[in-house]
Symmetry: C2
Subunit: 209 residues, 2 copies
C-alpha cells in the first residue's frame, strides 16, 4: 500500500504528521513524501524542514494520497504543475485525502466539484469558489475523497481511513499505540465552542503571521 | 523564547510535531531542532526525515526543552553524550518537558529522581528504574518538569505549557488555530478504555515492529 504525502514550502507540519503517524502503521504501508524537488521543505514559519525523498515527476501513482495544508496553499491553488500532478495521481488512488487547506488544492484541481468537503474553519466558505459543497464536519467522506478540517483533525481523518482500509479493530490498535485519548485543557478547538474573545485573539495572531 | 527540540534517529515524528505545532505559535518563539549532527534524522520506520538545523555541541541553553520519544530511546538511555547534554541544557531551562518515552531520557539523565512523571503506557513502570514516580496521567507537571504520555499526548502537553507561558486566553487561541476539537472515531486511546482484544492486537503489532 503506497501512501503518498505532498510536501511544499510553507506547509503546516502537523497537517502531514498527524495522519502520517496513523497511516504509517497500516499493514504493508510504504509511505513516500513528495515535493517539487527532492530535499528539505520548510514549514510555514521556517523553523522546521521535512525532507522530501521523492520529486513529483518521479511519482505517478498512489493508493492513498494525502494533501496537507498551510498558508502556502493560497498560492499553490494557481500552480498548474501541482494541480496537474494532483489530477494525474488521483486517477490512480483508492483514497484521495486532505487536511486543513489541502482541500483547497484538491478543489482547485477540480476534484471536488459537487462534492461535500471541509477545510480549516476560517476558509470553509472558499471551497464553493471551486464548486465544492462546504461541510462543517471534522472529517467529510464523499466516495473516495476524504477531507479533514483544520490542522489537528488529520489524526481523526487518519483513524477513519485506517478503519476503512484495515478494519475497526486494527484502527483501534493504532489509536492505542499512539495513545490518542485526547484531553485538551480547554474546549476552544472549534469556532462553535470558542468564545468570541478567543476567535478575536486568533484573528489578531493570524494577521500578525 | 528559545524552544528546543531534541531529534535522534528512530524518533516518533508526532511526539515532536504535536507540541511543536502548539509552541511555535507562542509570542516571540524561536524554535530549534537539535541532533547529534546537523542534517536529516530518520524517524522510527525510516519513511520520513526531519531536518536538524543545529548540532548538540552548538546549543548550550533553552528556555523550553522538549524531548520526544520513540523505540530508539531504549538505546539512548545509555548514551552518555545525550544524557550529559540534557543535564547541561536543563540547568538553563524554565521548562524541561518530554513526550512519550522522551521521559525515559530525562529519567536516565537523573532529572526526575523523586518526581512524578509519565511516558507511553506500555513503559510506565520502567520510570521507577531511574527513581522517578510513575503517574498514569496524560500530562504530569512537577515543578518545571512536564512529561506527557504516549505520542499524541504532546498536543495536550503543548497547550498546557502554552497556558503557563502565555496565559489561558493565548493558549485557547492556539487551540482554535490548530482546530484541536478532537473527535476520534473510537474510544480506545488509553489502556484503561481499550478492550483486551485491542491491547492484544497492539502488542502483536509492536512485536512485529
Amino acid at each position: 500500500m503506497d501512501v503518498t504525502f505532498l510536501l511544499f514550502e510553507g506547509i503546516t507540519a502537523l497537517d502531514a504528521i498527524g495522519p502520517y503517524e496513523v497511516l504509517q502503521r497500516l499493514p504493508d504501508a510504504r509511505v513516500r513524501f513528495v515535493a517539487r524537488e527532492v530535499g528539505p521543505v520548510r514549514t510555514d514559519n521556517g523553523f522546521l524542514a521535512l525532507h522530501a525523498d521523492h520529486a513529483m515527476h518521479d511519482v505517478a501513482r498512489a493508493d492513498v494520497l494525502v494533501v496537507p495544508g498551510g498558508f502556502a496553499t493560497r498560492q499553490l491553488e494557481h500552480d498548474q504543475a501541482t494541480l496537474e500532478w494532483l489530477r494525474a495521481v488521483d486517477t490512480t488512488t483508492t483514497w484521495t485525502t486532505s487536511v486543513c487547506t489541502g482541500s483547497m488544492l484538491l478543489a482547485a484541481a477540480g476534484l471536488l466539484v459537487g462534492r461535500e468537503a471541509t477545510t480549516h474553519w476560517s476558509q470553509l466558505s472558499r471551497l464553493s469558489e471551486y464548486g465544492a459543497v462546504p461541510a462543517s464536519r471534522r472529517v467529510v467522506e464523499t466516495g473516495k475523497y476524504v477531507t479533514a478540517a483544520g490542522v489537528s483533525s488529520g489524526i481523526d481523518m487518519g483513524l477513519t481511513l485506517a478503519a476503512r482500509i484495515a478494519g475497526d479493530e486494527y484502527a483501534k490498535a493504532i489509536q492505542l499505540g499512539i495513545e490518542y485519548d485526547p484531553q485538551p485543557p480547554f474546549d476552544s478547538g472549534s469556532v462553535d465552542k470558542a468564545d468570541p474573545g478567543t476567535v478575536e485573539a486568533l484573528i489578531t495572531m493570524l494577521q500578525r503571521a
